[in-house]
Symmetry: C2
Subunit: 487 residues, 2 copies
Amino acid sequence: MEKGNVTEDFLYNRIAERFIGQIETNILKSGDKLLSVRALSREQGVSISTAYKAYAELENRGFIEARAKSGYVVRHIYKKNEKQKLTNIAPLQNETTNVDELIRRVYETLTQESLVRLSLASPSSKLIPEAKLNKAMAEALRKSPTSCTQYENIQGNANLRKQIAKHAFNWNGQITEHDIVTTQGCMEALVFCLKAVTEPGDTVAIESPTYFGIFNVMKSLGLNVLEIPVDPETGVDIEYLENAMKNVKVKACLFVPNFCNPVGALMPDERKKQLVDLLTVNNIPLIEDDIYGEMYFGKSRPRTCKSFDREGIVMLCSSVSKTLAPGYRVGWCIPGKHLDKIISLKLMHTVSAATPTQSAIALFFETGRYDLHLRNLRKTLHLQYLQYTQLITDHFPAGIRISRPGGGYVLWIELDNRIDSFRLFSQALVENVSIAPGQIFTTDGRYSNFIRISIGEPITEEIESKIKILGQLIQDYNKQPAANEAD
Amino acid sequence: MEKGNVTEDFLYNRIAERFIGQIETNILKSGDKLLSVRALSREQGVSISTAYKAYAELENRGFIEARAKSGYVVRHIYKKNEKQKLTNIAPLQNETTNVDELIRRVYETLTQESLVRLSLASPSSKLIPEAKLNKAMAEALRKSPTSCTQYENIQGNANLRKQIAKHAFNWNGQITEHDIVTTQGCMEALVFCLKAVTEPGDTVAIESPTYFGIFNVMKSLGLNVLEIPVDPETGVDIEYLENAMKNVKVKACLFVPNFCNPVGALMPDERKKQLVDLLTVNNIPLIEDDIYGEMYFGKSRPRTCKSFDREGIVMLCSSVSKTLAPGYRVGWCIPGKHLDKIISLKLMHTVSAATPTQSAIALFFETGRYDLHLRNLRKTLHLQYLQYTQLITDHFPAGIRISRPGGGYVLWIELDNRIDSFRLFSQALVENVSIAPGQIFTTDGRYSNFIRISIGEPITEEIESKIKILGQLIQDYNKQPAANEAD
């Protein structure tokens, strides 16, 4: 019997989620037959229509398939690997590595379209609703009295700020459009925040491992980096930070509490609160990069540190670059008490951000298309995450460890500790596939036996074959005696 | 008789230009009757059709009008004012002025649409071919395989760079697309150039007076400013600079050789060459802001310092913000030997510039629409320059001096030296008109009896009435005894 006060949507989604949980934990295995729709309806006490929708949802998301005569069966997706927990912090290597040079060589591969770029941490263009976005752009130009040719408001397009403020409700944000400054992507937001709260020579705490773009920024601003280890389950190590603060004057922190790149850790709410409390007491600004926050695989949008911020010390930065259109360069910053400084930095650096792209994205939010798109994208990404994990488990040698991110675009993979992943990167390039080697995610040569693999592209035969090739390279690498290394 | 090897276009344009010269220098006065078309044809030895086209061109550009029974007569446009030569460098005022505060207050007025903003140095939206630009945007989205949603090439959109390189031919540039980096407007280009060649604490030579946005940039980068006077006829004072260099270590120069803002001086070619030679010998980079270079009132596109640069010391910066669409934030930099540094600064700060706007502007260039638009805009601006000068001469008190720029968007006006133009700015705001007071164009309180007036808006009755009001305020200001100043 349907319960009168619960919607059908809620019911079939709940049933689908339960099945997914069972598939992920191997309670339901690939090839297992499921109950008939009628039997499921009886078992769950829901209508036939609700039971059917639950299976349709699972089929739609790629977890099950309908087979002639067998009914619905679980697809070959994912094997649980109990040994996946990553090493928390890898040992330092003896060799000194020129990280700049490595990063430059990895960047070069990012725009080479001839490569299968498993090094890119962004959505495939196949997952972007381009026609609808084009429509939003056409609408934006039509609606503007000056066709978006004139300077935009310095703080940012008013409608876009209103939409971002509304959206912040999803992460428990109590924000108005007056709290927001738009920027040219998340990167510009991060740079402005760093400039606002540091001077050359200051030390900034970041996660380790962390996104390699950050190191160039720090260097260019003359900042020192203090690397704080990330735990795959609980995020950045707050106790480690607290201890380090006793010896080093930390001027600011730059963390990615939701699905940090590359580890993918989701910091639990109580840890977020603890971090904000610690930094508030010490009056240290927290630059919170929330660029992956919308890309959760779980049931609900994770909260942000900003949502625990009472004193305005958290400067949240985000963009639509990982969710919708990196090419639009639309990002924003919610800088708390540093608002005026960010506005004047923006005015000085770029006068204002581009009018057409901001207006188009604002309309895309306003019409509800962004939310709809995010719902679809999250489902697709979750499936791709499981598919990539499956493929890697199948084709990489036994003994590797794969991260289990709660969201985001990447898998962080620990290989045999004799492997130099930059050498692996070079070998893979010969095979027309690019990966991100672990060394570029730190300043000190750690993570040389790690690689980062993107899950942003839908699986194709080509990608499957490249993952097989990568597995083979790793397998063969282990067979080679160390003395043979003449790469 | 037509000369066979000369086109009709050339002939009628040459005739029209001669008439304009005579009108500007008061040889032909307002109300003077012109020859009939037939008589002009005989006098000039051209066909009736060519003579007619010459008059049509003059009528089209607003210099003459056809009157019943009188034929063509000169319109009321412009009176030559022999006393217009500006004071080269104004004396320092005794009062100390908080320039930051003044600049902030002027900026606030720039986005207040209720004001008649004679403080804005950019084209009126009425002068922008919005429909054609919208078409270029639609085309760009349609032509792109990913609807411009993906990251653009880090150095910049390839087609846009190709078009800019082609266009550089107009200023004698021998440039390829590989020499160019696109940026978010000219301002970002200037900031990147300064960051590339200076360190905090360095001294950079700039023009005096100069665009007020520069002071914030310098301050934020920790740079010291050395102000070099500008001569209205010959541009920045090279001898003054050379002398100053004996006492101060100048790390870079940032000049606007073509129609500097606010003076409007056009540096002659031989002076440009002399400047480049001086800086080459001393290995000092020249950041050349050429944002007004296309907005010439004369016969041909002025050359740039870059065109005299043999060693790659000149870093040319420009954009379409003053010619087409400030809201698009499409600018560029031709950084000579500092190319790699600019690319890595761009990568670090903003990853890449927006794809849709770059692609649309590239198509606008490629289809020839940009050149066509520039031709029209130049004619309109030239006329507006003459009209504004006429109105100001008519309505401002005798004894003022008005700049005679060879191009650009602004008039620089010297008032009675007892006038405090910031006070005048405040009085004008009450009358809903904004001007740019002279004090904000320097760091040291000079130019307090100067104002800058924009000529970017086509004259309307409202603008005419505001100019009358400004004239009255100036007139009344002089009547008030100094002791009365309780503003």
